[in-house]
């Protein structure tokens, strides 16, 4: 599903990273652990196609995203990659439903409609929040909406950037469970990039930067 080979990236001649090769099968979970300054975020940006590597390959579902033209990459990202960030961000002017619809829109998803949105939200116990504005929700709820958004288009790959570090232990466990659960339902591989050691023992596949 996801393979990286000899991935390197350099911001300047002084600061450059090289990343371990990854092999993640469909439906598998992987924890990428690393302290600050080890290039976690850079690695994630590479995987998401936000930045281009200096060298190496990233293949998602046999597509080499390092070779894709920008526009194709944007579209590919929307369709095949779902993302969850440390703090959830939404378009402020839109409510929960509209934010999810926007995700469907940009992904040019074939399966649109409020049916999917409602199903997804109810799986995350958010069905009552459909018309709420995200900034009015609690942090935990916001993170759940973010997860809903990440899985709404049935992506092949879910990238989670420090999804639990802003949460307390209780919510941390909950979010992790939800991520794995939803990834499984969507049939997506899950990659969690974090320095949060609480997750260390909860996912078998681990890579340290």
């Amino acid at each position: 599903m996801l393979e990286t080979r000899a991935l390197t990236f350099s911001y300047s001649s002084k600061q450059s990273f090289s990343f371990p090769d990854l092999h993640v099968k469909q439906g598998e979970s992987l924890l990428v652990l690393g302290e600050s300054g080890k290039g976690k975020t850079t690695f994630l940006n590479l995987l998401a196609g936000f930045i281009r590597p200096s060298g190496g390959k990233i293949e998602i579902d046999d597509y080499d995203i390092t070779q894709m033209p920008d526009a194709t990459l944007d579209q590919f990202r929307g369709k095949f990659i779902g993302m969850v960030f440390q703090t959830a961000h939404f378009v402020k002017a839109l409510n929960v439903e509209e934010n999810l619809k926007m995700a469907q829109l940009f992904a040019r998803s074939d399966q649109k409609g409020s049916g999917i949105i409602q199903d997804t939200l109810s799986r995350l116990n958010l069905e009552s929040k459909l018309k709420d504005y995200p900034h009015r929700l609690s942090i935990g709820e916001q993170q759940r909406v973010a997860i809903a958004r990440a899985v709404i288009n049935q992506p092949k790959l879910i990238l989670a950037d420090e999804p639990t570090s802003a949460l307390d232990d209780y919510n941390c466990q909950g979010v992790l469970d939800l991520l794995r659960e939803q990834a499984e339902i969507a049939g997506a591989s899950l990659i969690i990039v974090t320095h949060d050691n609480r997750l260390k023992d909860k996912i078998e596949n681990r890579v340290e930067l």
Binding site: F50, A71, Q75, R77, G78, F90, V91, F106
Partner: protein, 493 residues
């Protein structure tokens, strides 16, 4: 904020456009069929404003006989007399002929046209404003506005109401010229109880004693005043004659003459004559006297005199609206009238163009200010979009992470600028319509003048295009910024 500014700019420009268009339309609509206006000497613009648009004071009066003489000129197809002098609650009462209605395609909504003295037909807008209905009677006030002196003796009676035409006709009370003369005779000689008898008398005399009139009239009426009379008369016929001849020969003999005799104005007449005599004598004797006397006197006796007596004795009107038979009239008549008669001729088209030239400077200035406002509002839209997008940078990056392309974000921001400008435009147009409504009501109460609220002018189409371009321009840089959004950096910060 920037939206409001934008709307203001659009609103002001649109308001200007409407006002210019409407003024233009109104001014040109109202000179339809009027090639030339003849009135008393004075400002030609004033003459046009007063007698075509009814928004200024008349320059004075002219002799009806003189005007009628002119009317017979072969180059003139139609001459419509106008007489002012009274108003009712500030709305002018216009004495005229039925032909005046045809100028503005005025049609009766109900009732009938005036046929007799003191019968009035109400303009289309005034039925509601003044609440006048057929059969109503009212007293006019002397002057063109206000109601200081009311003519209580003669009540006008409403006999008809006109349809609205969108022209000056809507704002007038129309009657026959005789009505105004009647009211004013009453006014001037209110103390004269025999007024009506006197009038009848005059008519009879006028008709029966055409020839005798000049020489024998006074004799019949006043032996006592022979002396004065003869003196005066001689003056009239002799030295003063050409003066009177053109302006008011009949005047003195008819109206004043009668009055003088009966009321004892001979003294005044005598005095006046003396003065005239002394002053005018030399003049006229020296230069004009012989000439006028010989040619003009006969003329008058032959044609005009009868005519005057028959139609309306030495009466005055305010102006006459002339329609030429051919464009040749335009070339010859104004010069002829201005040079050879005590009247002046003014060409409405020419004067209106002059007036518009005067307006143009002011309109251009205001338009410049409005354009400046629009440009400032454009800059303001730019700044607010720019700041807004800085705040929403994260949202843009988020959209990218959800699969939006650079191009989509660019288009999105440009659309935002467009939408702001469209809303601003609509708001502005709405504001201008509102403004026109308000202006309209102010102008209507102050000037009795209708501003038509026009819709969908071509210029407003151009204004829309300009607004859209401005919106896109203002959004262009912010949109470029959106295009350039660095997702990785933005999301990880």
């Amino acid at each position: 904020m920037s939206l409001l500014l934008f709307a203001m700019g659009v609103g002001i420009i649109s308001l200007l456009l409407i006002m210019r268009e409407s003024l233009d339309e109104n001014f040109r609509k109202n000179i339809r069929g009027i090639d030339m206006v003849v009135g008393a000497k004075g400002s030609p613009l004033q003459l046009i404003l007063s007698s075509v648009y009814h928004i200024d004071n008349p320059t004075g009066n002219i002799s009806l006989a003189e005007a009628n003489k002119l009317k017979k000129h072969p180059l003139i197809e139609q001459g419509i007399p106008l007489a002012y002098g009274d108003n009712y609650k500030g709305y002018k009462i216009l004495g005229t002929s039925h032909e005046y209605l045809d100028l503005y395609e005025g049609k009766l909504l109900e009732g009938e046209l005036w046929e007799h003295e003191l019968e009035v037909v109400v303009g289309g807008s005034l039925k509601e404003i003044l609440g006048l209905n057929i059969g109503d009677e009212f007293y006019s006030s002397h002057g063109l506005v206000g109601d200081i002196n009311t003519h209580e003796e003669h009540a006008f009676k409403v006999v008809g109401v006109l349809e609205k035409t969108g022209t000056v006709l809507d704002q007038l009370l129309l009657t026959g010229i005789e009505s105004l003369w009647k009211v004013h005779e009453g006014h001037d000689h209110a103390h004269d109880g025999e007024h009506e008898e006197e009038e009848g008398h005059k008519h009879e005399e006028g008709e029966e004693h055409d020839h005798e009139h000049e020489e024998g009239h006074k004799h019949e009426e006043g032996e006592e005043h022979d002396h004065d009379h003869e003196e005066g008369h001689k003056h009239e016929e002799g030295e003063e004659h050409d003066h009177d001849h053109e302006e008011g020969h009949k005047h003195e003999e008819g109206e004043e003459h009668d009055h003088d005799h009966e009321e004892g104005h001979k003294h005044e007449e005598g005095e006046e004559h003396d003065h005239d005599h002394e002053e005018g004598h030399k003049h006229e004797e020296g230069e004009e006297h012989d000439h006028d006397h010989e040619e003009g006197h006969k003329h008058e006796e032959g044609e005009e005199h009868d005519h005057d007596h028959g139609e309306g004795e030495e009466k005055e009107i305010t102006a006459m609206l002339i329609k030429f038979r051919s464009p040749m009239g335009m070339m010859q008549l104004p010069r002829m009238i201005n040079k050879d008669t005590p009247m002046q001729a003014a060409l409405p088209a020419l004067e209106v163009n002059r007036l518009f030239d005067l307006f143009a400077v002011g309109i251009q200035l205001i338009r410049g200010i409005a354009i400046a406002i629009m440009i400032i509002s454009g800059i303001s839209i730019f700044i607010s979009l720019y700041n807004n997008l800085l705040d929403r940078k994260y949202e843009l990056a988020l959209m990218r992470s959800l699969g939006a392309s650079r191009r989509e974000l660019f288009i999105m921001v440009v659309l935002e600028g467009l939408i702001i400008s469209i809303i601003g435009y609509i708001l502005g147009i709405f504001m201008s319509r509102l403004g026109i409504r308000i202006l309209d009501s102010i102008i209507q109460t102050n000037y009795r003048y209708d501003l038509d609220v026009l819709s969908g002018m071509q210029e407003e189409g151009y204004l829309l295009i300009a607004s859209l371009i401005l919106g896109v321009l203002a959004a262009f840089l912010p949109a470029l910024n959106a295009w350039r959004t660095d997702i990785a950096e933005t999301l990880s910060s």
